[in-house]
């Protein structure tokens, strides 16, 4: 997806911070926006291409909310079901990219449950209609995370710039803030 395009090296926190702000602007509450930031960052680290996936949703706030807000909610509901009954099924209202789910999958794994149905060779852009929460989790691989923290992440420059621009809407003009002070 990024072949032939300009890349820029960014720190994981930059992705999180930008996604958070964009998600807030799109209408997600603070908690969901923070979760979106964690999901996209984790997906970029482990799968690659997540910044582009998120950037592609920026122009469609409804899609962004459905994928990055409702998608993780469905997975969480499946975890609740699985903890009660041994297994749970997450059915997404729209095909949901793994960019919207990666950190939640890791969190569920951290509580001992596995997430089934992830396609082999999946990327952050791979979409799923549903996932099963059952069985045991597989050990997390920290190598990619450590490398990302040490060396940064090479992401598509155009997509990253799109996040930077969209995130500006989270800010309030200094002139407005000065104007409302006593």
């Amino acid at each position: 997806m990024t072949d032939g395009r300009h890349q820029v090296v960014v720190a994981p926190r930059e992705i999180h911070d930008l996604v958070f702000r964009c998600a807030r602007v799109a209408g997600l509450d603070a908690g969901a926006a923070d979760r979106a930031g964690r999901n996209v960052t984790a997906a970029e680290v482990h799968l690659g291409g997540a910044v582009e996936v998120f950037a592609s949703a920026l122009g469609d706030p409804q899609r962004l909310v459905a994928e990055f807000g409702a998608g993780p909610d469905a997975l969480v509901e499946a975890e609740v079901e699985a903890r009660a009954n041994g297994s749970g099924v997450a059915t997404f209202g729209v095909p949901t990219p793994l960019a919207a789910l990666a950190s939640v999958v890791a969190d569920i794994g951290g509580r001992g449950l596995g997430v089934q149905g992830l396609p082999d060779g999946a990327t952050a852009a791979t979409t799923v209609d549903g996932l099963d929460v059952c069985g045991a989790s597989t050990p997390a691989d920290g190598a990619a995370s450590a490398r990302a923290a040490r060396e940064g992440l090479s992401v598509d420059q155009r997509a990253f710039d799109a996040l930077v621009i969209a995130a500006r809407s989270f800010l309030v003009a200094e002139s407005i803030l000065d104007g409302i002070e006593d």
Binding site: A11, R13, D73, S145, G152, V172, E174
Partner: protein
């Protein structure tokens, strides 16, 4: 909002960054648990006025950094300087830790006096620098010349560990140059209590603008300790001030010029101006805050439990006298709500008298502290810092105690009853804040488009519309509790969030807030909220002193005043450099 700040290290990410170490966090909690009967309760230590009376201590980051430098045999010095007669040009300083080399690359210019500002939003600076992991080759230097002066508009890469900037002291830089150029040392009365030559405004790090993430330091990296990179940069920034003044004096005075001599060589620190940017950090990182407070409380408990020892008594008496002498040479400027330097003199006289009364009794250190607490927070926290000078904690261990794993994830299956119990245990103090009253919700926190500086906005004048920064912890948790009160005890919290997604952030915060000292007991959105208090606590932990508020929202401080210079590092360098006396 006005002001600038040491920009903080930030959170680690659930799946993006591995936990730094859960062992260190557990270790601190175990140490605190072992002292549960003697550490100060959070109900006191986390009171805003107590936090707002904190002072630098043995475990402040400027102190721990320099002790590490001495213990590990670091060497440091200037390796390149090319300045014109006005001090404009570039300089490179290097530090060698024995295992790694680092370079502080700094570009200097001059700007009109009218353009000097302490605000982080300024777009021109007289000093702009970066700390680099390794030596700097020509290619990197060429790139840094372009990027570093751009500051927030720059793109860095993971070789860069910290980005900073600042200005000359308008009042004193030229005066110091003139005096040295004329072959004279400064007149102590002219310098007054000015403790710095250059004033910094921010030390960005940890992934900002593409710099190295803190979690990216390997386990054996000398900067794998919170804020170590920033404080190495700050220490070199301070060195630059001396070098610039002496360089300009030589250029102006020629053969007549002299360098700083005697105690002037260490007297000046690095100024800093700090604003609202610190506040969100403090309210977003409960485990970090717990570590900062917890380490101090652990050390304090140890000292209070000590039996009397004549040698310790002499040391403590010496520190009280030293503090008195230091503050006696300071100003009586209005520092409301804090005490100015002159007002600290009678306070320290009181400490000396109290020590005289209890020194020969049982548990004298505990007795001194108990007396101090009765006198109020300015006294109690002054005494805490003085007592901590007697502590001899293992720095290897204490460096680890500051490392915090911030990852947490709320289990969606916990029941409403369990969450209520957690809320009562961790946030039972919310009921004391009057959160149902209208003034409690007067402000929301916003990020300005001008270099992304946090500010407060009155809710009745501007609606948040999704642009609020979630540092309204007290309000969020209080409202979450109200919602939980109307739910069935045995239903899952996931069900509550399905109906009330606006509480998701509150639940995550509740889960993350699993330490004693993680929460300032304050409401950032109330009309009476005073940012200066949490700012002062953070600045004291950094190792700053001379707190001079310029409004309710920002203040000036000094760090590294009295600290050894780069060339003075050596096995005989001692840790007793703080609170220097003004040169005679």
């Amino acid at each position: 909002m006005a002001g600038v700040e040491i920009r903080a290290t930030d959170r680690t990410y659930a799946a993006a960054v591995p936990p730094i170490t859960t062992m260190s966090a557990d270790l601190l909690q175990a140490e605190l648990d072992a002292r549960s009967g003697s550490i100060r309760p959070a109900a006191y230590a986390m009171r805003p006025d107590v936090l707002g009376a904190a002072r630098l201590s043995r475990y402040s980051f400027s102190r721990t950094m320099l002790r590490r430098a001495v213990a590990d045999g670091w060497t440091a010095g200037r390796v390149h300087q090319d300045l014109d007669a006005e001090g404009r040009g570039e300089s490179i300083y290097a530090v060698d830790t024995g295992t790694h080399r680092f370079s502080f690359v700094v570009f200097t210019t001059t700007i009109d006096e009218a353009d000097h500002t302490d605000r982080v939003i300024a777009d021109r600076w007289e000093v702009a620098g970066v700390l680099v992991d390794g030596d700097v080759d020509d290619d990197l230097l060429a790139r840094l010349r372009i990027e570093v002066p751009e500051q927030e508009k720059s793109r860095m890469d993971p070789r860069i560990l910290s980005l900073t900037r600042g200005n000359r002291s308008v009042r004193f830089f030229g005066y110091l140059v003139d005096e040295l150029a004329a072959g004279r040392q400064p007149d102590p009365d002219r310098v007054g209590d000015a403790g710095y030559i250059l004033r910094s405004t921010a030390f960005y790090a940890n992934g900002k603008f593409g710099m190295r993430s803190f979690a990216g330091y390997p386990g054996d990296h000398p900067f794998r300790v919170p804020y170590r990179a920033q404080f190495v940069a700050a220490w070199m920034f301070r060195e630059l001030g001396y070098d610039m003044v002496e360089h300009c004096a030589r250029a102006k005075g020629g053969e007549t010029a002299v360098g700083f001599d005697g105690t002037w060589r260490r007297y000046f620190g690095l100024g800093n101006a700090t604003g609202l940017g610190l506040v969100p950090y403090a309210f977003k990182h409960p485990r970090v805050l717990d570590a900062w407070v917890g380490v101090r409380e652990m050390a304090l408990a140890d000292v209070r439990e000590r039996a009397a020892a004549p040698a310790d008594g002499v040391v403590l008496r010496g520190w009280i006298a030293r503090a008195r002498e230091h503050f006696a040479s300071g100003s009586d400027d209005d520092c409301t709500p804090f005490l100015n330097s002159q007002a600290l003199v009678p306070l320290l006289d009181g400490v000396a008298e109290a020590w005289g009364r209890v020194a020969d009794g049982p548990d004298p250190y505990d007795a001194l502290y108990r007396w101090a607490e009765q006198e109020g927070p300015e006294t109690s926290e002054m005494v805490v810092s003085l007592l901590l000078e007697l502590h001899d904690g293992d720095d290897d261990q204490f460096d680890l105690l500051f490392l915090v794993d911030e990852h947490s994830s709320a289990d969606p299956t916990v029941t409403v009853a369990e969450v209520r119990a957690m809320l009562d245990e961790r946030f039972g103090w919310l009921g004391d804040l009057g959160l149902e009253e209208p003034p409690a919700d007067a402000f929301w926190w916003v990020v300005s488009d001008n270099t992304e500086e946090p500010r407060r906005a009155r809710r009745d004048r501007l609606a948040p519309e999704g642009r609020d920064v979630a540092v309204d912890v007290a309000l969020r948790l209080w409202r979450f509790g109200r919602t939980l009160a109307g739910r069935k005890a045995d239903e899952s919290v996931a069900a509550v969030l399905a109906d009330h997604p606006e509480h998701r952030a509150a639940l995550e915060r509740l889960v993350a807030s699993d330490r004693r000292y993680g929460e300032p007991r304050d409401n950032t959105c109330s009309t009476g909220y005073l940012p200066l208090q949490i700012q002062r606590f953070q600045l004291a932990q950094y190792g700053m002193d001379e707190f001079k508020p310029k409004s309710t929202d920002w203040l000036r401080v000094t760090l590294f005043q009295g600290a050894p210079r780069l060339a003075e590092l050596g096995p005989h360098t001692t840790d007793d450099w703080v609170l220097p006396a003004r040169p005679a």
